[in-house]
Amino acid sequence: MNSHGLMPAAVLAAALLLTVTLLLPGAGAEDKERGKLWLEFSGGCQGLDPADLNSAVDADDRIQYLRYDHYLQALQDSGQIRSWSATAEGGRRRITAGWLLEPRLRYRLGASLSLSAAVRVQRGGGTRDLFFEFSRERNDGELYVETLAFNPYRLSVQSYWPNFGIHFRRPMGRRFCAEVHAAAGPLFADVSYGSAWTYAWDMRGSDYIWPVFRDAGERSEKGTGSGFGLELGARLERVLGRRLAIFLEGGYAWQRVNSLSGSGRETRAEETETWSGKWVNRGETIVTPWETLAIRFPTSRPQAGADDGPFRLDLSGWQLRAGVSWRL
């Protein structure tokens, strides 16, 4: 699932929905609502920036720059190669938005007050295929061509938020109702990070291509954890009949998981290493002859003496949902 650019599209869709609902004929909002139980179903999008999780993308990008772009430039600057070039298809992307779905059951206590129970499923990030090629021309004219492919590169988060809400409702004329609400509940989240990659190095001359090295590997890390979520929001509802309404709901959700644990697995050089542990925000300093790079990235692999900080999965953000409501 590609979540990039999700928010503008969702806002546009919501605006269209709102326009359509304004044009539809409807029953009166004030006195035609029926039933004490309402079943609602909504879906939408959320702005996300799980910084600690996204640091995986930053670290992978910066390491690749260090390993290839910056290294090759250093070789060229020092006269060890004649030139170099790089091509890329695709790129790693941070998680900046997510989809969400929520079934909700509401109990109407009075004309303006109701309580609700719901489960919100949220998902952000996904998988992408990436391909990079780095070519360096040696001073003797021979080409080294290195290709690095990720099929796929994966970074995703999914959360389940059972929540209990309270809703204050106020009719706005015959067709519309406005509402504010607050909801809170425990948050359960899963994260997944990893890739399957291949690396190839060819030596190329005027009359030969030598496939001198091949490598491949996989890395997969999964984590689960629980936390707490709180949302404050507002809603505009269009009543379509005695039992049916559609609505647009928005708000800000504070959602944070302070501790994740899980398992990991890495396969390289025909050997597989597995581990399990608590997710941490690990700091590493990569010291090469051409550059020193400090990075932080998330992992669950235990490592003695590592510079580990706490890992927090922060799924807070603005949310926008559209839905339909049935009065039972």
């Binding site: 003797d140 590997g217 692999r301």
Partner: protein, 575 residues
């Protein structure tokens, strides 16, 4: 009387019954040995500080050739000498083993060493036990792979997973420790490392790993080989039981691995090469004298490549500039030819070669030695230096003469091999190419090439605990040892001064005195100075044991008798 007789007979019976138990507990007698040590595929990695961004490699299965000669007299402290040549990719069997160290040798008075091995008047078996090792894919050593019939698969075998300076050293350590474990009476003996040429880098890496072994699995060093570290710890647990299960301090380890004899070594070769070039360009240098002798004056402007001038223009041997080109290669090649006669091989090793199972074609179905089945010549050497050509092109071409029909009776005795296999390769150009060029660790930017300054730093740190003898052969241009003292001085972050003392009481005097900067190595706070024995061999080529065998034997013998060479070898480390 009868009772006494019964008692006496009973006593004899008890003794007879217990005798096997006591005999079994005693060490088996030491005999000369030769054969192969199996090295399993090993997973190791290089890193620059990031675990997930490491370059993880898995080596191929190897059968490493070794030959062990017993000391003339074995006492409790008789040391074990471990010999190896360099290259990398060059065989010890046709190098040090055939040149005045073992019981038999080529004859330095005959062209190319003569047509048979002669008794060596200065066998180092007088000093101790001798262990000769051929590096992976050099000499008799061979690798084993799957799909050995696929040329592209063979091509990929000659890369960093099998050939780099650290894993090469790890191979030698593995073989040495396993050999020591198999000879219980030798396990704790002092070991003297004897390395020639690139063997200086190998000795440096070996000793650094052995002395600082935990750093090779805890992430401190660029090269990480956890399985090797476990093996080293197990060895130290046996040899230093008072430290069982704990990290053994380097000063304690040096009781066993505390001496090295380096023959024309590369120890900080990047600086050695640069300094040698500078020194040889100076007016009045050897190159100008060669120019006068051959009537083709040396002109740095016209001949920017000094080796090209000496080898191609002046027609002189780079390893001994007073001789014609490829004079020394003739000895190596001749040894390689002679050793492929089974009788010679048996004589030199002291072992009936026909009893060595892994030599038979029937036991090496998946063995390979070269990429191109038709030639041991590596790809892509056309643009390389005259030095590389002298090192590998000439021997490789010589060895390719006759293709698969190897000289001697070795094929008749052991059977015909696959086209990509060889019984013996004196200098494996494919392996050398993998060390220097076709190496993914180098391509990915790991500074592990033997010309990198890291080896000089490692060598200088080793000196804190390791007594060192280095030859200074006057006629060698490949490793121009006159450049060694100033090359060491280039490590100005470690050394305050380097002094080459040319005078002394010995027949062949010479010492390098190193003054360390305070705190040059954090864990060696009291390390202040070290002295390297550095005798001058006025008439010697690169292979000092060949051209001045009596002198080298005498000097090493005298050096072995010295207690500590004026050095406090505790290293001043924190324990």
């Amino acid at each position: 009387m009868k009772r006494k007789t019964i008692l006496f007979l009973g006593l004899i019976m008890v003794c007879l019954c217990l005798a096997p138990v006591f005999l079994a507990a005693a060490d088996p007698p030491l005999n000369d040995q030769a054969g192969f040590m199996a090295i399993e595929p090993v997973t190791f990695y290089f890193h620059y500080g990031s675990y997930f961004e490491r370059l993880l490699l898995k080596s191929s299965r190897a059968r490493i050739w070794y030959s062990f000669l017993c000391a003339d007299q074995d006492r409790s402290e008789t040391p074990l000498f471990v010999f190896f040549n360099g290259g990398p990719g060059s065989a010890t069997s046709c190098g040090l083993m055939s040149m005045y160290t073992g019981r038999y040798t080529l004859d330095n008075q005959e062209a190319n060493g003569g047509d048979h091995y002669i008794a060596n008047p200065v066998s180092w078996t007088r000093f101790g036990h001798l262990l000769y090792i051929d590096a992976r894919q050099a000499g008799f050593s061979y690798n084993i792979m799957e799909r050995d019939e696929d040329v592209n698969e063979r091509l990929r075998e000659f890369n960093a997973q099998n050939f780099n300076s650290f894993f090469d050293a790890a191979d030698f350590i593995r073989l040495l420790l396993r050999f020591l474990a198999a000879q219980s009476q030798l396990q704790g003996r002092p070991v003297v490392i004897v390395g020639e040429s690139y063997g200086g880098t190998r000795a440096t890496a070996m000793l650094h790993i052995l002395l600082n072994y935990t750093d090779y699995s805890n992430g401190r060093e660029t090269f990480q080989d956890p399985a090797l570290v476990d093996e080293i710890q197990a060895h130290y647990d046996a040899v230093f039981p008072e430290y069982a299960g704990r990290t053994v301090p380097a000063s304690v380890i040096a009781r066993q691995f505390g001496r090295q004899v380096l023959v024309q070594p590369t120890v900080t070769m990047g600086y050695q090469s640069a300094l040698a070039e500078e020194m040889l360009q100076q007016p009045g240098s050897i190159l100008y004298r060669i120019g006068i002798e051959v009537g083709i004056p040396y002109d740095p402007g016209r001949y920017p490549d000094q080796f090209e001038y000496v080898h191609d223009v002046a027609g002189r041997d780079l390893y001994i500039y007073t001789r014609p080109s490829d004079w020394l290669s003739g000895f190596f090649d001749n040894a390689g030819l002679r050793l492929r006669t089974v009788g010679n091989l048996s004589r030199v090793t002291g072992v009936e070669a026909r009893t060595i199972g892994e030599l038979y074609a029937s036991s090496r179905h998946a063995a390979y030695r070269v990429i191109d089945a038709n030639s041991p010549w590596a790809y892509a050497y056309e643009t390389d230096s005259p030095l590389t050509r002298a090192l590998f092109e000439v021997p490789a071409r010589l060895e390719s003469v006759g293709g698969l029909d190897e000289p001697g009776d070795i094929t008749d005795v052991f059977g015909a091999l696959q086209p990509w296999d060889r019984f013996f390769i004196g200098s494996n150009a494919n392996a050398n190419w993998a060390f220097h060029v076709c190496n993914v660790a180098l391509a990915r930017g790991y500074d592990i090439h033997y010309q990198e300054p890291r080896y000089g730093r490692m060598f200088l740190k080793n000196l804190a605990h390791v007594r060192t003898f280095i030859t200074n052969a006057a006629l060698d241009l490949v490793v121009y040892t006159a450049a060694l003292p100033p090359a060491l001085a280039r490590h100005s972050d470690i050394l305050a001064s380097v002094r080459h003392e040319r005078r002394g009481p010995e027949a062949r005097p010479g010492r390098i005195v190193l003054e360390y900067l305070p705190g040059a190595f954090a864990e060696l706070p009291t390390l202040t100075s070290r002295t390297i024995r550095f005798p001058l061999y006025n008439h010697s080529c690169h292979a000092v044991s060949l051209t001045q065998p009596l002198d080298l034997f005498a000097d090493v013998g005298a050096w072995l008798q010295e207690t500590d060479g004026g050095n406090d070898l505790s290293g001043g480390e924190h324990e």
